[in-house]
């Protein structure tokens, strides 16, 4: 009877429609700019990346990770076996039993998805995502019933035409979501785009426990600098946006969102999806950008993004703290995208807000953001008796002072660090007036031309001298020197040089016994992880080791380590200063106060400035080198 064949025909039809949808989706990504990927190696590596790297992130939420393994694994297995049993009609009972097992697994998973969706947290998107567990359950139940005869549990033809009709509807609902929806932009799109995103990720170094945080250089010869339209992104960036599952983990971590600034990383990625597919955000069912209504954003691959899709303030609210990237199970790169779009605003439109344009102009004319005379860079060290590279030529440690040299508060950190190095008899020198701004702020503000020029000039200076290590108290300069200068280091000025943050370096000195320290006798101490030290460079332990070496038991904040909340000072955010309802620094200080600490230890002059800007009463703020120097046991000769 024809009707017996109906489910099989439906399976094939929906599968074909799904494939057509996927091909169409792939053509949308191809509107992006070319970027070389290794297709074969990527596809081969994909299952491993899924099982290890992606699940490493999902694993942070045990409930969801188990649910996803059961549902996703169950579905993939069932789908293969459904084709074997119901399309190719292989009549081995054992296969049918295997299919039943897979379907049951999926059903259990789907049940837990359903449970989570009963009372979903705010960060999750609603809309079509609410029907997903029901579709999953329909799929599993339908195919369980359809497979029972093949497994020999029910006689063939049970239930007759009526049952087949009901099951056919089940097939349409289940496969409609899972296959058709995968290709045509339903919630299941994440599985298909996500898998390919893992294969063709723009930063493959991130997989296998690696780290890749340096921004990619802007092509300064292009017709348009930065990203103006969705089609200016690389194709695999567009693919990445499409992988988003709208889990909102990024939103929950974003300091700008929490401060009520008009940024929500999840919405931003969804707006990019609107841009690449064309249309409006009317169907978006998640939290908005604070203070902005949903339904106003429109875009298409060839329309300027900031002319209707995303507002400029949204892009300037980001502190580039990478909390979103760290948290995203789909390994989407929000910060890359935001800086790409800022590049267009700064280098093509000249629209860096507030103090941005003044700061950039200062950096261009004086190599420091404050516009101070370059010849006064070493004034802070007038009484420090520090050797200068120009005289020394060769040294063990080059101390990269950074622009803290011009700031009185930061100078206290610099002096403390110099005192510690002297106590440990380190062979050290500075560049003196030959040093320039690292380019960090210019780059985060989208002015890659100025960044590249500074990087090249700094490298040319560094190339004249010999040193084994370069140490800095500024995590932003540290990040540039360590992760971003390599793209411009044609002559190998930094080849073989170890770039270190001062906490890492000091920790080595303490561990080797070169520094003798007394126990700390003050009150409770907490530690704030600077984003550019922690998430950007993976250094969480050295600062803590140092505090422990003083006998301090660190009272950890709820958000610490890789989940540390930004102080609000990165990415040029204090310069562009987009208003919100709260200040990020205030929120971070509340985190610190909640531990009952009397002292916040930090490892960054920018964090120090931001946290000290919080009104009293509040815990004291000190750089780790300042804490150490107070406990230094000075040898008397």
């Amino acid at each position: 009877m024809v009707i017996d064949w109906l489910p099989s025909i439906l399976i094939v039809v929906l599968l074909l429609l799904g494939v057509i949808g996927m091909l169409r989706r792939a053509s949308l990504w191809r509107a992006g700019q070319p970027e070389k990927v290794n297709i074969v190696a990527g596809l081969m590596a994909m299952p491993g990346r899924y099982l290890k790297d992606l699940h490493h992130v999902v694993e942070r939420d045990k409930y969801m990770s188990r649910t996803h393994v059961a549902t996703g694994g169950g579905f993939v297995l069932s789908m293969v076996l459904v084709l074997v049993v119901h399309v190719f009609k292989v009549e081995e009972q054992i296969v049918a039993w295997a299919l039943l097992g897979a379907l049951l697994l999926m059903l259990v998973g789907a049940f837990f998805v359903f449970k989570r969706r009963l009372n979903p947290p705010e960060r999750l998107s609603k809309g079509p995502w609410m029907r997903l567990p029901k579709s999953l359950i329909t799929f599993a139940v339908t195919f369980i019933v359809l497979t029972l005869p093949a497994a020999g549990i029910l006689p063939e033809g049970t239930g007759g035409v009526a049952l087949i009709a009901v099951l056919s509807i089940g097939v349409i609902i289940g496969l409609g979501e899972l296959l058709f929806g995968m290709g045509w932009g339903g919630p299941m799109k994440h599985a298909f785009a996500g898998a390919l995103h893992l294969a063709f990720h723009r930063r493959p170094e991130r997989f296998g426990g690696g780290r890749s945080t340096g921004l990619k250089p802007a092509n300064l010869d292009g017709d348009v600098l930065g990203v103006a339209k969705p089609s200016d992104f690389k194709w695999n960036q567009l693919l990445g946006f499409d992988a988003c599952v709208q889990c909102g983990k990024c939103q929950a971590m974003c300091p700008a969102f929490a401060a009520g600034q008009p940024l929500n990383p999840k919405k931003l990625i969804q707006d990019m999806v609107v841009g690449l597919a064309g249309g409006s955000d009317a169907n978006y069912a998640g939290s908005p950008y604070p203070g902005k209504e949903i339904g106003q954003a429109k875009g298409s691959p060839n329309e300027i993004i900031t002319a209707g899709l995303v507002s400029q303030e949204t892009l300037w609210s980001c502190t580039t703290c990478r909390a979103c990237v760290e948290e995203c199970p789909m390994m989407i790169e929000h910060v890359d995208a935001i800086v790409d779009m800022r590049r267009f605003l700064t280098m093509e439109k000249g629209e860096t807000p507030n103090k941005g344009s003044e700061v950039l102009e200062n950096i261009i004319a004086t190599d420091n953001p404050g516009g101070y005379a370059p010849g006064s860079r070493t004034n802070w060290a007038a009484d420090q008796n520090l050797a200068v590279m120009k005289d020394k030529k060769e040294v063990d440690v080059l101390f990269w002072v950074s622009d803290g040299a011009f700031d009185m508060r930061s100078q206290r950190i610099l002096r403390a660090f110099v005192k510690l190095m002297k106590a440990a008899k380190v062979d050290v020198a500075i560049l003196g007036d030959e040093e320039r701004d690292s380019g960090d702020v210019a780059r985060r503000l989208g002015d890659d031309a100025t960044f590249q020029s500074l990087a090249k000039r700094n490298l040319a200076t560094l190339g004249q001298y010999k040193f084994n290590k370069i140490v800095t108290t500024d995590p932003h300069a540290y990040h540039c020197l360590r992760n971003e200068y390599a793209d411009f280091d044609k002559d190998g000025a930094l080849a073989g040089v170890e770039v270190l943050h001062h906490t890492t370096f000091l920790n080595r000195l303490v561990q080797s016994g070169a520094l003798k320290l007394d126990a700390f006798k003050g009150g409770k101490v907490t530690y704030h992880d600077p984003c550019y030290l922690g998430r950007y460079n993976g250094e969480y332990e050295a600062p803590r080791d140092l505090l422990r070496s003083l006998g301090i038991e660190i009272a950890e904040m709820e958000r610490s380590g890789f989940r540390s909340r930004c102080c609000g000072g990165g990415g040029g955010a204090p310069i562009t200063d987009i208003p919100g309802e709260r200040r990020i620094a205030d929120m971070r200080m509340e985190d610190a106060s909640a531990t009952g600490a009397e002292l916040v230890a930090v490892g960054c002059q920018q964090c120090t400035a931001m946290l000290e800007g919080v009104v009293e009463p509040r815990p004291e703020v000190k750089d780790i080198s300042e804490i150490l120097v107070d406990q230094l046991i000075e040898e008397v000769h």
Binding site: L225, G350, T352, T366, A373, P374
Partner: protein
């Protein structure tokens, strides 16, 4: 008929680093020019068309910069005055002060002398151009303005009080066209004899401020200089004179 507006630009010098940059007042002249003429504004430089600073000006959104190509030692005056005459300019904008070399500073005066056009110094804004005349706001000390009407064509030097220059964008600056014409070959005979030295800060009269609070110090620093605003009353009645004194005492908050 749209008016022909020309802004003259020079290579500036950053006060702290001494490095070349777009001169502050010259870029205000470009900003004002853009307000008056949009991208029809003609921006002119006499000098080297390879000069990177010209790209910083162009980054303000200029599709092209006209360069009267000449060496550094050549006199800019003949080249500029013949260009302005040939272009039948209506308004020529420059800065008030030169930041380096022979640029704004003497240049607007020399041009006005050569061309026989009026010069309006220290312009804050040009409000309207109509019927061959322009309404010009001059900048006076302490934020005051004076409105004057000037017949076209004229030369105006733009004061620090004018709208600050917009941000310069790297991309458009890079792509702008340098439209070169040959400039003058005459050596600048005055300039050869110049010797340049860093400016010394002028000595300042010490002001003894007796104020106790920050607000008082602020007032002392910003108060109008006294004198000049007095009134001589001879023919009024005693009543009126008393009233005037009374009003003044109230105004100065001597009595309440």
């Amino acid at each position: 008929m749209p008016h022909k507006v020309i802004s003259l630009i020079s290579v500036g010098r950053h006060p702290q680093s001494g490095r070349s940059r777009r001169a502050d007042q010259d870029s205000r002249a470009v900003e004002l020019g853009l307000k008056l003429a949009g991208t029809d504004l003609d921006v002119v430089h006499a000098g080297n068309s390879e000069e990177p600073v010209l790209r910083q000006y162009a980054g303000m959104g200029l599709p092209k910069v006209t360069v009267l190509e000449q060496t550094e030692s050549a006199d800019a005056l003949p080249a500029l005055s013949s260009y302005l005459k040939a272009q039948q300019a209506d308004i020529v904008l420059t800065g008030v002060r030169a930041e380096s070399g022979e640029s704004s500073g003497m240049m607007p005066y020399l041009l006005s002398e050569q061309l026989g056009w009026p010069i309006v110094a220290r312009v804050a804004d040009i409000v309207e151009i109509k019927d061959g005349e322009a309404q010009v706001l001059l900048a006076l000390p302490r934020g005051q303005r004076r409105q004057v009407t000037v017949k076209l064509p004229f030369i105006a030097s733009v004061d620090n009080a004018a709208q600050a220059a917009r941000q310069s964008a790297f991309g458009p600056g890079l792509r702008a066209k340098m439209a070169t014409q040959s400039g003058s070959t005459e050596d600048d005979s005055v300039r050869v004899n110049w010797s340049e030295a860093p400016a010394k800060a002028r000595p300042k009269r010490l002001k003894v401020v007796k104020a106790k609070t920050a607000a008082d110090r602020f007032k002392a620093a910003t108060a109008k200089p006294q004198g000049g605003s007095g009134k001589v009353m001879k023919n009024e009645t005693a009543q009126e004179k008393a009233q005037a004194i009374f009003d003044l005492l109230i105004e100065e908050k001597v009595i309440r």
